[in-house]
């Protein structure tokens, strides 16, 4: 079990709603971005003298730009339906992590400056002036929201705290108060092309290594091409797929699927990142700039289709925003949706009988599936609502004989966030990440005990990184987290594979 300098919650298999304990997380503040990183994104490097006026001005500006913000700040009736829905509240008991209380941090200032009631009767409606203390709360608690939207499912008015968090972060960025993790990452995308800052030669190297690994495993030459003009498909995938475990096993899987179908594909070093942290900081402009890189890569490489690898919020930006931010994509093949998810792609191939699969290759596992919050509640796969739940499960079931769902209320639209989404996947928030994972860990524990589940599959780079890091705190093993396309990769029998001998056996064991 991993060591912690805070108390790791105990998991019981059922998540109880804790009694409110004010300020348990008041001490947790993520590092602030240095001036140079703020300026690179078009924000002031330092807090200006008149930061209060600037902040109110920014709020006024956003209220005119986003109907969501205006309506959500007005509509809440404080019914409390959302109060027990946030994994961070369930894991920390800090009342400011209840969605409505989190919104109220911004709402009370909105009321004071933008509503009649708040101007004349502030005490009555809980309106307050913007002070340093309030700003401090904003910074702490808007960086304790993973923008997972679980609260919005249960609110009678669909109030989405993620929208409020995004707006709050943008307001803070505009007065020079930004968080280091997200802002530096966006800077890296602008300078180099991906979140990890991997330059083209490093990428080329990694991909070559992958080709060799797959060859050693299977005796088949599967290609992992980079910057190949004229390829049919541009694959945009989170950069963690290039080296982290278990992400890279997923990337191997995508390559094998493309290989078997005989379609030409390529990665791009310019757009070597599916993630788009512009969304986390609520910045339309930055989100748009990152998205435009994908458009440019697609144009430069002359591809006909765009496919996204396994990543949750990336799929949200891709599915729900890309067309609006960087469209129209009328230069691509109109027979396919733009963009497509790799799970949609693989599922189609499976249905068409184009893949030779041996699910017994995964017989050493009993698998469950973690619905990533952004995929589940902000996107779709296929053409029917809910395809985002069915398609990944269908893929898993096609390549695995043993599959079990976690309990109702913890999956699909009610899925619990991994605890590391929304730009919180940084070591300085480890306490929050561990505690926020509790509801998911409870659910995992219950199926482990009841059905002997051994592995949890995910389709999101953040989920995978977060889980491999935090599940040891709960007594699980980091190898229990797998990529969906890692399972596909294990089960695929490549054309020509096995002619050389006994490699098949070995690859199945490697993955176990």
């Amino acid at each position: 079990m991993a060591k912690a300098n805070f108390e790791v919650p105990e998991i019981t298999g059922v998540t109880e709603v804790p009694a409110v304990q004010p300020d348990t997380m008041a001490h947790l503040e993520t590092f602030r971005a240095k001036p140079e990183f703020m300026e690179a994104l078009g924000f002031p490097g330092e807090m200006p003298e008149d930061w209060k006026e600037k902040a109110i001005e920014a709020m006024g500006d956003l209220l005119k730009k986003y109907r969501s913000l205006q309506v959500f700040l007005d509509a809440c009736v404080k019914c409390g339906a959302c109060t027990d829905k946030c994994h961070y509240f369930l894991g920390t008991a800090d009342p400011k992590n209840m969605p409505v209380a989190r919104q109220d941090l911004l709402r009370k200032v909105y009321r004071r400056y933008f509503t009649l009631a708040g101007k004349f009767f502030p005490k009555l409606v809980g309106a307050v002036d913007l002070t340093e203390e309030v700003l401090h709360d904003w910074y702490n608690y808007y960086h304790q929201c993973s923008q997972c939207r679980r609260c919005s499912v249960f609110c009678p008015y669909g109030i989405d705290t993620a929208e409020i968090s995004m707006a709050a972060r943008e307001i803070m960025d505009r007065i020079g108060v930004g968080d280091k993790y997200s802002n530096e990452i966006i800077g890296k995308v602008f300078r180099i092309g991906n979140n990890l800052g991997l330059p083209e030669p490093a990428l080329a190297d990694t991909l070559e290594g992958l080709e060799e690994d797959v060859y050693d495993d299977t005796g088949v030459r599967v290609r992992y091409p980079l910057d190949e003009k004229g390829a049919e498909i541009l694959l945009v995938t989170p950069s963690a797929d290039f080296f982290a475990e278990p992400h890279v096993d997923g990337l191997m899987g995508y390559g094998k699927v493309f290989h078997e179908l005989g379609v030409s594909w390529t990665l791009s070093s310019y757009a070597s990142e599916a993630a788009n942290f512009g969304m986390f900081i609520g910045s339309y402009e930055n989100m748009r700039k990152v998205s435009l890189r994908i458009r440019k890569a697609a144009l430069d490489l002359g591809v006909k289709r765009i496919v996204f690898g396994e990543c949750g919020h990336a799929w949200r930006v891709a599915y729900a925003f890309l067309n609006t931010l960087a469209g129209p994509f009328d230069f691509l093949d109109p027979n396919y949706p733009v963009p497509q998810h790799i799970c949609e792609f693989t599922w189609e191939a499976i249905q068409a009988g184009k893949l030779n699969l041996d699910p017994s290759a995964n017989d050493d596992m009993v698998v469950t599936f973690h619905d990533s919050c952004n995929v589940a509640r902000a996107t779709r796969m296929g053409d029917k609502p809910g395809g985002q739940f069915e398609i990944p499960r269908n893929v898993i079931k096609a390549v695995c004989n043993n599959y079990v769902d976690m309990p109702h209320g913890t999956i699909k639209e009610a899925t619990f966030c991994c605890g590391g989404g929304g730009g919180l996947l940084t070591d300085d928030l480890m306490e929050l990440r561990v505690k926020g994972a509790k509801p998911r860990m409870d659910a995992l524990k219950s199926v482990t005990e009841e059905y002997g589940v051994t592995h949890m599959a995910a389709i999101c780079a953040i989920c995978k990184s977060q889980f491999t890091k935090v599940i040891p705190y709960y007594g699980f093993d980091m190898d229990q987290i797998v990529s969906v396309h890692q399972l596909v990769s294990n089960a695929i029998i490549l054309t020509g594979e096995g002619e050389g001998g006994e490699e098949e056996e070995e690859s199945a064991e490697d993955a176990a």
Partner: protein
């Protein structure tokens, strides 16, 4: 014409003006602010008709609340359905002749007042008993509940205990509508009831009571899930495009 009649009538005209302008202003405001990105909470309908259905389920049955919390759903339903019936029953004071359905609804409408009050008291109790709800409650939440309970009680009392002269009341109400003032029966309970209703109408557009309007504009509920098929460029976002390209 008594001073009281004039006073109550004036209050009602004032309340009506504030209520209507306030609500119209909010609707105009919400309609005017662009919604630049598709943010429907999925799974979401892929057609307009689907969205209308989703909204209907939300408004008529509180679908999301049902998913969330059964006790809260029951209390909210008691109050809102009760209120709806009570309001419907009140049409008899404004319409002449009274339509058949309104006539038929009278007995139900009368007793619905109790459902409404019961629901309100339950909702109020939650604000004291459940620590999470206590934490998010501000004084105005108590005041709103208090106001609604008093309206319900004073109304129920005039119906069941201290009967008022309904014929005269109806004359007064119709007089308000036709700008032809008729005397208001001077029962204290009735006057209290009417005054509180006017107060409610005045605060409605400036308080959380406005949620009844907000829900129709909630982007997570009213958007069609079609972002891959269609671009949804807000005017301010289009400007970005023109600037930089």
């Amino acid at each position: 014409m008594s001073f009281l009649t004039v006073l109550v009538a004036a209050l009602f005209y004032l309340a009506a003006v504030i209520f209507v302008t306030g609500v119209v202003y909010r609707i105009w405001l919400y309609a005017k602010v662009p919604a630049p990105l598709r943010i429907a909470t999925t799974p979401a309908p892929v057609t307009k008709g689907g969205v209308v259905l989703r909204m209907f389920r939300e408004v008529a049955f509180f679908e999301s609340l049902f998913k969330s919390n059964k006790l809260l759903w029951i209390l909210a339903a008691l109050f809102h359905y009760g209120l709806a019936l009570v309001l419907f029953r009140h049409l008899r004071y404004f319409l002449d002749p009274v339509p058949m359905v309104v006539e038929l609804a009278q007995p139900f409408g009368k007793y619905a007042a109790f459902a409404m009050i019961l629901g309100l008291l339950g909702l109020w109790a939650r604000r004291f008993v459940i620590d999470r709800v206590r934490y998010i409650t501000s004084p105005s939440d108590h005041l709103m509940l208090g106001l609604l309970v008093l309206i319900g009680l004073s109304g129920a009392l005039t119906t069941f205990v201290a009967h008022t002269d309904i014929v005269a009341l109806k004359d007064f109400a119709r007089g308000l509508l036709t700008f032809d003032l008729k005397p208001l029966p001077g029962d204290p309970l009735l006057v209290i009831h009417l005054t509180l209703v006017a107060v409610l109408m005045i605060v409605f557009p400036y308080s959380k009571l406005l949620h009844g309007v907000g829900v129709f504009f909630s982007p997570t509920r009213n958007m069609v899930d079609n972002p891959r098929e269609q671009r949804h460029l807000a005017p301010w976002a289009r400007k970005l495009e023109e600037e930089k390209s």
